[in-house]
């Protein structure tokens, strides 16, 4: 118990002392998380809309692929990405291996199917009469899509929260393609893993608490936004 209590004490001390390394890691994680979530949702939510509303050949197969991708092991994703980004790989010329961009790319690939699958489910959950009503009142394709999105806005906000949660909590790909380089590619999850293995439980715990705080902040922000729109 003393060990745990000591860990908590050190974690709080680090948090309130404004430790540059701790906050640097947190900031990098937040930056990667926001960029990856914006890109993944920017691509994934429209893809989810298309899967849910546009009848096309192979739609069912596409939905199966997206749903299967939800369970794709992040370490395997990191491994494949490593192969692509390493010097001898097809994308080696970009020089992204062991950079934060590589971590962000992995996170986008991880969150994209999440955003697409959950957005498709959110749109499918909207009463089909909403679409028909918008159409019969003269709305064109974009206005109809916007109307459906407005109806699904709470579920779509949950899609963004979930994507962000997965991205900041991801470790397998970040470790493999980021390399956990101090001051450059060390994120909250890779740092927690490293400091725990080094026996610095207090520092690991401090970073873990920040990770939780980040997820909490994003949830609170989205819930506040949702609260402004009533049923």
């Amino acid at each position: 118990m003393d060990f745990l209590a000591e860990g908590f004490r050190r974690a709080l001390a680090l948090l309130f002392s404004g430790d540059a390394e701790v906050y640097g890691i947190a900031l990098l994680t937040f930056r990667i998380g926001v960029i990856s979530t914006v890109l993944a949702c920017g691509l994934g939510i429209p893809l989810g809309f298309m899967l849910a509303t546009r009848p096309f050949w192979g739609r069912r197969a596409a939905l199966t692929v997206v749903n299967t991708a939800l369970a794709f092991p992040t370490v395997v994703l990191g491994l494949l990405l490593y192969g692509l980004l390493s010097r001898r790989g097809p994308l080696g010329a970009m020089g992204w291996l062991y950079t934060w961009q590589a971590i962000a790319l992995g996170d986008v690939l991880l969150a994209l199917p999440i955003a697409a699958a959950l957005a498709a489910a959110a749109v499918q959950g909207v009463d089909p009469r909403i679409r028909r009503t918008a159409e019969t009142l003269g709305a064109g394709r974009w206005r109809t899509t916007w109307t459906v999105a407005r109806e699904a806005r709470f579920a779509l906000a949950a899609v963004i929260t979930t994507a962000f949660g997965h991205v900041v909590a991801e470790i397998g790909s970040a470790m493999t393609v980021g390399g956990n380089i101090r001051g450059q590619t060390r994120t909250l999850t890779t740092a927690v893993a490293l400091y725990t293995s080094q026996g610095d439980f207090g520092l690991a715990l401090a970073l873990g608490l920040i990770l939780l705080l980040l997820a909490l902040l994003v949830n609170v922000a989205l819930q506040t936004l949702q609260g402004r729109g009533h049923a």
Partner: protein
């Protein structure tokens, strides 16, 4: 003129609508009546250009129109269980006007105007979860009328409304039609409303238009006759005799004007003679000389007779009567 021509429509291989022609002329007031599952809602969705028919054409003023085209802005449908957008009633009424790019002042004027006519002004600030089913239905009709369509399609518009609300609704429709040319096609299973309100009542049964008026339509299973074309079909607790070469599932229609009404059984050639009691007497329109006599003869049948005949037979609700009609008077389709 909005028309369906040689339209057949199927869901998952099951034919739900089969129409040679169904036209809604400009300014017409049409009621489509029929039991649940007869194809009324499908018919309205095809007319509203929300679905493409499996076969056949939809024409607007002679030109073929398809879902997604500009023609949809001339036709508006209010569904049987309409839904409001997640917004205030005012924003719902504004929706169709905004998508047409109408300027703010005109939007406000039309919204206030239509809200007053449908007596929903006090509801303008409310949201959908604060409304009753009847109020939702009135708001949905107001929302459709706000865009001033050439053709308004209404699926069971008074199904959630009480009598007073239904009268307000029908009055608003009549006022709108008096104010500007607008065709209305209304689907209902309530014959009373259909006759009171429409100029033209059409009956739909199993996706097909009935060749006779919509009363006395029965879905039956016809067995092969032992000899000849005289067949008997069970309807409720009675057996109706009909002359037909058809077998299998069919619709029987007994034209109300072909039913003889008497107080005692008649010695006649009629193969169908059913004793029962009068349940109601009604004139569909105040100026109409004919009276619709409804009797429970084991199944509910409607006969149309003259006012003079009603007096001579001293008919009133509860009076014992005998309904008779020939097997050859029964239409089978």
């Amino acid at each position: 003129m909005l028309e369906l021509v040689q339209v057949r429509h199927a869901y998952h291989g099951r034919l739900v609508l089969d129409l040679e022609r169904f036209a809604v002329p400009p300014g017409a007031a049409i009621a489509v009546v029929g039991p649940n599952g007869s194809g009324k809602s499908t018919l309205l969705r095809l007319l509203a250009l929300l679905e493409r028919p499996s076969a056949g054409r939809v024409l607007l003023n002679g030109a073929v129109v398809t879902p997604g085209g500009a023609a949809r802005r001339q036709v508006t449908l209010v569904e049987q269980r309409p839904i409001l957008f997640r917004a205030t009633v005012r924003e719902n009424l504004e929706f169709g006007l905004q998508v047409r790019g109408i300027r703010r002042a005109e939007v406000n004027r039309r919204v206030e105007n239509i809200a007053a006519r449908l007596a929903i002004t006090p509801l303008l600030g409310r949201r959908r979860h604060e409304l009753s089913d009847g109020e939702v239905q009135r708001v949905a009709v107001a929302r459709a009328l706000a865009v001033e369509p050439d053709v308004l399609l209404l699926d069971e518009p008074a199904s959630s409304a009480d009598r007073a609300a239904a009268l307000t609704l029908y009055r608003a429709l009549a006022e709108e039609r008096a104010r500007r040319p607008m065709a209305v096609c209304l689907a209902s299973h309530q014959l009373e409303d259909a006759y009171r309100w429409a100029d033209d009542v059409r009956a739909l049964a199993d996706g097909r238009l009935s060749p006779v008026t919509p009363e006395n339509l029965f879905r039956v299973e016809l067995q092969a006759a032992e000899s000849g074309d005289l067949k008997h079909a069970c309807v409720g607790t009675v057996e109706i005799a009909a002359m037909t070469d058809k077998t299998g599932p069919a619709i029987l229609a007994v034209p109300p004007t072909d039913i003889f009404v008497s107080r005692e059984p008649l010695a006649s050639s009629a193969r169908n003679t059913f004793p029962g009691r009068v349940t109601s007497l009604a004139r569909r329109r105040p100026d109409e000389g004919a009276v619709h006599v409804t009797a429970d003869v084991g199944v509910e049948l409607v006969a149309v007779i003259t006012e003079e005949a009603v007096r001579d037979l001293a008919l009133a609700p509860g009076t014992p009567v005998v309904f008779s009609f020939k097997a050859s008077a029964v239409r089978v389709f």
